[in-house]
């Protein structure tokens, strides 16, 4: 009898702890969050596919440091250049990765950095051109070891 109640208590506690863990877990960015993050940048403009090249290894072993290069086909002249490049993800705890602001003086619209990916997911790069149009490219990446939410030892 005593054993039984301990057992019940244990499961009760374990269940409670599991519930707590679920509620405490940081919310994963969803495709909706990705869409709204993109909306915050582009407003009501339509985003066309093309011009942008997003280079990320398709299979990533360690999501903590993933090399990424974004380049945009542009003459980078005062009358026709890339004003900014915005990179987003689908499943990290938050949808933004980075915003990069360039100008005609850049000469070449290309930026490289290293990013974190918490899961296998889609990465989207959007370029804002001087004529106000938006162009995008996306890449699906498979990640073996996730970043961002692991336990600190």
């Amino acid at each position: 009898m005593h054993d039984e109640s301990t057992r019940r208590e244990f499961f009760g506690l374990a269940g409670g702890a599991a519930m707590l863990a679920v509620t405490l877990r940081p919310a994963e960015a969803t495709p909706t969050m990705l869409a709204s993050a993109i909306r915050n940048v582009v407003g009501t403009a339509t985003v066309q596919t093309g011009k942008v090249k997003l280079e990320i290894p398709p299979l990533v072993e360690n999501g903590n440091t993933v090399p990424m290069t974004v380049s945009v086909a542009s003459p980078m002249a005062p009358e026709d250049h890339v004003r900014s490049i915005h990179v987003f993800n689908e499943k990290n705890p938050q949808p933004n990765i980075g915003n990069f602001y360039l100008g005609p003086q850049a000469g070449r619209a290309q930026v490289s950095t290293r990013i974190r990916l918490a899961d296998s997911q889609k990465v989207v790069a959007i370029a804002r051109l001087s004529d106000g149009t938006f162009w995008s490219a996306s890449v699906d990446v498979v990640v073996t070891l996730a970043a961002c939410t692991e336990e600190v030892i």
Partner: protein, 106 residues
């Protein structure tokens, strides 16, 4: 102690497109990780990086927790004259670092 690594060509010809590589040592704690006891490790990231040439901004970036530790950023600029590139990183917990590199343009 924070430290930066900068790679700017020492010399360039007028009008050349040059590549600038920058690396700043920083933990870039995303703010989503937990300790074994379940406490969240507070966010500590660099939020902004700016590069100016002779005082004029030539490149700027907003960084988010999805940028890997020790942010490595490379970009391009046109050599418009001799002068000094200034680099500035600003982040959480009052993080602010600057460094500079000179270029001779012929």
């Amino acid at each position: 102690m924070a430290s930066a690594l900068i790679n700017v060509p020492a010399k360039a010809k007028l009008g050349d497109i040059i590549e600038i590589k920058t690396l700043m040592s920083h933990i870039m704690e995303p703010g989503y990780r937990r300790t074994a006891s379940g406490e969240t490790v507070p966010r500590d990231i660099i939020t902004s990086f700016t590069c100016r040439f002779n005082g004029t901004e030539v490149f700027r970036a907003d960084l988010f927790p999805a940028i890997a530790a020790n942010p490595f950023i490379t970009f391009f600029t046109t050599a418009t004259g001799s002068g000094k590139f200034e680099f500035e990183w600003i982040g959480d917990k009052g993080f602010a670092e600057t460094t500079s590199a000179s270029i001779v343009v012929e």
